[in-house]
């Protein structure tokens, strides 16, 4: 995939940080607002794919390798399952929300009914959102990156 024109590259360079911030906001506030790890991860991966389309696959693979994305995805999966097993160790069952009710990390229990959003709530849910978000970002971007790079090398090999 070759790079696009200078106009497209400039506009993408302007839009890219805002879409990254929006996606990371959706991941980080998954336990308060609509959205979560899957949705925010899809937004961030779309922003990365936008950069890939505008700047070309050669430029992008110089910046980040698909092997590193695979490592990120595995880290997200291991963190997700590890949090579930920590529920088995510290609580009673698999996927137990063992962090809710403590005083230091994500442990605040909100009052029943509608209340102002406090980000320091919900136990392990924000951590699981981060793990799934990392997994979705790395997974979706790795798919598109590998496909784009494969088509490029296939064309160059044919010449």
């Amino acid at each position: 995939m070759i790079e696009m024109s200078r106009i497209v590259r400039t506009i993408v360079a302007i839009i890219f940080p805002f879409s990254m911030i929006y996606g990371l906001y959706v991941i980080a506030h998954g336990h308060l607002t609509p959205g979560g790890g899957f949705q925010g991860g899809a937004i961030v991966a779309s922003a990365c794919v936008m950069v890939l389309v505008a700047f070309g696959s050669k430029w992008t693979t110089e910046k980040i390798k698909e092997k590193r994305l695979s490592v990120f995805e595995s880290v997200g999966a291991v963190a997700f399952i590890g949090l579930a097993f920590l529920g088995l160790i510290f609580g009673a069952v698999f996927f137990n929300n063992f962090l809710v009710g403590n005083d230091y990390l994500f442990g605040v229990v909100p009052l029943p009914g509608s209340s102002l959003a406090d980000i320091n709530t919900a136990g392990v849910l924000p951590l699981m959102n981060f793990a799934v978000g990392l997994k979705v970002i790395a997974g979706l971007f790795a798919i598109v990156l590998v496909m784009a790079y494969a088509t490029t090398s296939y064309k160059e090999g044919k010449k």
Partner: protein, 91 residues
């Protein structure tokens, strides 16, 4: 018209009649027959999971296994795509 077209038209009209019939006999929106599970989640999600967002508490806490399966599906898809396309640019 061939026999095949006639059979298709009859089949489609039967499906359409079934759809219209079931649409006329739907429950009114927001009043399901069985709402025990919904009421339990709505009443207890804030004190049990501490999350203000009930959907996230269902997805990651009450039905964590479902999310684990979704993550496994994503992992399998990524592994398959990388396995297919890696061979092309290693040559």
């Amino acid at each position: 018209m061939s026999k095949r077209n006639i059979a298709g038209a009859v089949f489609l009209s039967i499906i359409g009649v079934i759809f219209i019939f079931s649409a006329l006999h739907m429950h009114s929106f927001g009043f399901p027959d069985e709402s025990d599970m919904d009421d339990y989640v709505i009443e207890n999600t804030q004190e049990e999971t501490g999350a203000n967002n009930g959907v996230t508490s269902v997805v990651f806490d009450y039905r964590g296994f479902d999310t684990l399966g979704e993550a496994t599906v994503l992992f399998t898809a990524v592994a398959g795509v990388i396995m297919i396309f890696r061979r092309l640019h290693d040559d």
